[in-house]
């Protein structure tokens, strides 16, 4: 079984998690930039974080034979802090990097006008850089948040089929699916979705354009939720091919829209010697 977790915050996870994930079949992850729990107070703090998502974290992942890509953005919550907003001016030089496979996560937190501005600006950045966008839906006032999110996408230069709308649930899946966007579901131990409801949604709406993630971070979450959903799908009569589609081919197709997804992991040892400049020839 090959699994892809399309939304997980590995910066907040331990090496034990990496080991358990690889053992469970997770071979690729995408780490969206997000809020760290503790508010940032300057753009420099974002830049160090972005650098880590392009440096240290992929190195950690490669040690466990897991391909690591990221999505970069100013997150919705901190879009409301004027001290953080100038990071938008730095984003363009980051969005050209090889491992950046989308702009994200963007969207709404409290649905303020500052969030409107940051969302619109970053949807434009995605269009300018040939990147899709990972847009989350707010935890509070979700259905209204989804509608406002879809409106913002429709007003942007980014086509709906280059947008993954995340943290969906029973109340938002239908309108999201009707819009033509990609459909993301975060499976959590207590909040958001659980495995059983996820499988019910797959049965009701089908696997097309559906991505399932653990959204594991520093909160109560489980980095093996993609595997648990896969196991329950099989137990409930879905085929191996259905599982492969939802938990591998769909995320590969969505992030592949960037043209930058590279699922071949180079083990760190392969780059230790200077003559590795010429590796790949044999």
């Amino acid at each position: 079984m090959r699994l892809f977790d399309p939304h997980i915050h590995m910066t907040s996870r331990t090496t034990d998690d990496y080991e358990a994930m690889r053992a469970a079949g997770i071979r690729a992850v995408v780490e969206p930039s997000f809020w760290l729990g503790q508010p940032r107070t300057s753009p420099a703090s974002f830049l160090d974080y972005f650098d880590s998502l392009l440096g240290w974290e992929p190195f950690r992942a490669a040690q466990h034979d897991i391909a690591h890509h990221c999505t970069l953005a100013l997150n919705p919550k901190e879009a409301n802090d004027p001290r953080c907003v100038p990071v938008l001016d730095e984003l363009p030089r980051y969005l050209v990097k090889d491992q950046v496979v989308a702009v994200g996560e963007i969207g709404y937190d409290s649905m303020t006008s500052a969030e409107d501005t940051a969302l619109a600006a970053q949807l434009q950045l995605a269009a300018d850089h040939g990147l899709p966008a990972l847009v989350h839906t707010p935890h509070r006032d979700k259905l209204a948040g989804l509608r406002r999110t879809l409106d913002a996408v429709r007003e942007s230069a980014l086509p709906m089929d280059r947008v993954l709308v995340d943290h969906l649930n029973e109340t938002t899946v239908k309108e999201a699916k009707d819009s033509g966007c990609w459909l993301g579901f975060s499976v959590y131990p207590v909040t958001k979705m659980d495995e059983r409801r996820m499988v019910a949604i797959l049965r009701a709406y089908g696997p097309e354009k559906v991505l399932v993630n653990s959204a594991a971070d520093w909160g109560r979450s489980d980095p093996l939720k993609t595997r648990r959903v896969a196991d329950l799908m099989l137990a409930e009569g879905f085929t191996e091919d259905d599982v492969d589609r939802v938990l591998w081919r769909n995320p590969v197709a969505f992030y592949g829209l960037s043209g930058r997804l590279d699922l071949e992991v180079t083990p760190p040892e392969a780059t230790h010697e200077g003559n590795s400049l010429l590796r790949g020839g044999e």
Binding site: G55, K97, D98, D262, T266, P268, T271, H272, G274, G281
Partner: protein, 217 residues
């Protein structure tokens, strides 16, 4: 201890070697992209070519990205200030390429701060790239010894250290550090890396001759 300016014995790739390699390994589309990127870098008007350094991975494939990036840096004759900017604004892969390009592009010690930055990381790919012929030539003795020790700590094979024999031979201080590290491992009932004895033999060479009773083990 003094050391004569060591010529690095590690691989120092010339533009010809890299270009021949990429010519024979890249797919036609990637080869065409690289040719254009090299033209842009050679012209070196504005900073557009710097974007080619960033996107080399997805254009040439990750296996050939290092070589392509180094070649682009060569073509631009990137100066130390440009290399420093590209390093500090680069992903880990781009930083590695800047480090690999140093011996060919920077004759003096100006770029040593980049090497020191990479040596502070725990990313073994950066450590290995930092310890090429440029570091062999310009890194001060204290930093160089600690870098060798860090290789042993982090599992970077010492073969990655350019000029190891030339710089390490007869380095009594390095020999002491290695012997202490071996003692620490032994006391903890942990294996001593085989590489350690290789370097220790080298570092202890003249030391033993000068101090016949100086080495305890």
């Amino acid at each position: 201890m003094t050391h004569s300016p060591a010529t690095g014995t590690g691989p120092e790739f010339t533009p010809d070697v890299l270009r021949d390699h990429l010519d024979s390994h890249l797919h036609p589309a990637a080869r065409a992209w690289l040719r254009q990127a090299l033209d842009e870098a050679t012209a070196n008007s504005g900073s557009g070519w710097e974007l080619r350094v960033a996107e080399a991975g997805r254009r040439c494939g990750s296996r050939h990205a290092d070589a392509a990036r180094v070649l682009i840096l060569y073509a631009a004759h990137a100066d130390p200030a440009t290399l420093a900017r590209l390093y500090h604004q680069g992903s880990a892969a781009e930083r590695r390429a800047v480090l690999c390009a140093l011996p060919h592009l920077v004759p003096g010690p100006d770029a040593i701060p980049l090497v020191e930055d990479a040596l502070r990381t725990n990313d073994t790919r950066l450590l290995a790239a930092a310890l090429g012929p440029y570091a062999a030539r310009h890194l001060d003795a204290h930093s160089w010894r600690h870098a060798v020790l860090k290789c042993l700590f982090t599992g970077v094979p010492v073969d990655a250290v350019a000029g190891l024999a030339a710089r390490g031979r007869g380095d009594a201080e390095l020999a002491r550090m290695l012997a202490d590290y071996a003692a620490e491992r032994t006391a903890a009932d942990r294996p001593v890396p085989a590489d350690l004895y290789r370097v220790l033999d080298l570092a202890a060479e003249d030391f033993e001759a000068d101090h016949p009773h100086g080495k305890e083990s």
